[in-house]
């Protein structure tokens, strides 16, 4: 017989090979998930639109190089910002801007104090964050986080009363199956409480 009986291939070293590959992947890859506070920068435009904004529609947050905070000229702690921002945004003391043929109307979903000296409408409420070049980044992120938290909580409240579901729930659902009706709901919530954050030039 010319052909020899095929002897079985020795699989004993298979484990070693697999281990080698495994260790290679363990070393060269990372597992960290990158998460953070998402922000959208305003587009750069040459022409400066002349918009007159009432003082009462702006919440002034100033932070200095010693990480001290002023909100509307009062000394506060970072943890107060969320409450102050929510009160300010949700105030609804006046009318919204008339646009697309829709007349200006009062905020029918706001639960605020309706204080005439505070913001008119959530779509008009601007948060201005003036920082110093020497402020630490941690402080800056904390303030951004609190502002984001204020908006999220307001949207959440509206979502619960309107759709009987939390805002986070809606977002998660939209990520899994992006249906049109969900997008409509989320857009409605976002339009009801739009994030208008202005960051003027830092203090030198």
């Amino acid at each position: 017989m010319a052909r020899r009986e095929n002897s079985e291939i020795n699989a004993g070293s298979m484990a070693d090979i697999a281990f080698l590959l495994l260790i290679f992947f363990l070393v060269t890859t990372t597992m960290d998930v990158d998460s953070g506070i998402a922000r959208k920068l305003p587009e750069k435009t040459d022409e400066k639109p002349e918009v007159i904004i009432k003082e009462k529609n702006v919440l002034d947050i100033v932070v200095n190089r010693n990480n001290q905070l002023l909100v509307e000229n009062e000394f506060v702690e970072v943890t107060d910002i969320k409450r102050l921002a929510m009160n300010f945004i949700d105030n609804g003391g006046g009318l919204s801007t008339a646009k697309d043929g829709k007349p200006a109307e009062p905020c029918d979903y706001c639960n605020g104090a309706k204080d005439p000296a505070s913001s008119d409408h959530p779509t008009k409420a601007i948060i201005s964050l003036q920082s110093d070049r020497g402020t630490t980044y941690g402080m800056y992120v904390s303030i951004q986080n609190e502002i984001e938290g204020a908006y999220n909580e307001l949207r959440n409240k509206l979502a619960l009363s309107k759709y009987k579901r939390s805002y986070k729930d809606l977002l998660d659902d939209y990520k899994d199956n992006g249906s049109e009706s969900l997008k409509e709901k989320i857009d409605f919530l976002k339009d009801s409480y739009p994030q208008i954050i202005s960051e003027p030039e830092p203090i030198k």
Binding site: A15, I17, D34, A38, E43, V78, G134, S142
Partner: protein, 158 residues
Amino acid sequence: MSKFKKKKKGLPAISTASLPDIVFMLLFFFMVSTTMRETDLLLKKPVLPTASEVKKLEQKSLVSTIYVGKSKDARISGDKIQVNDKIIDVKDVPSFIFAERALRSEDEVKYMTTSIKADKEANVGTILDIKEQLRDINALKISFSTTKGSSIETNYKN
């Protein structure tokens, strides 16, 4: 004597035939759940601030990361900016973004996000400079990279 010998080889050896299968399973798990490490940090590893309202960054392939932190050399003060494998100046940030854009197809460009991984002790001035540069070239989606947590006090208290 022969009786004694027989008793000694009672236990058979454990079969290692399934060992490769187990290891391969582990291997596939790691291949799927991890991503390739791209950069070696030339800076001191930034201590990210903590935040509670975080969003996960989707589509890692569309994220370009900018690191901001102190130099490893303690004698060099000030914030340093690192992209890919080199330390750059603020004014070079646009060229980095352009290089990143060139690697992606045209319709992906508008979904590209810039993730800023900065040390919590870094100066806001540096971050705002980077933001200004990004605005100039219309890279508007940014993310301040943070770790998820509820105790934001650690961000500004030493």
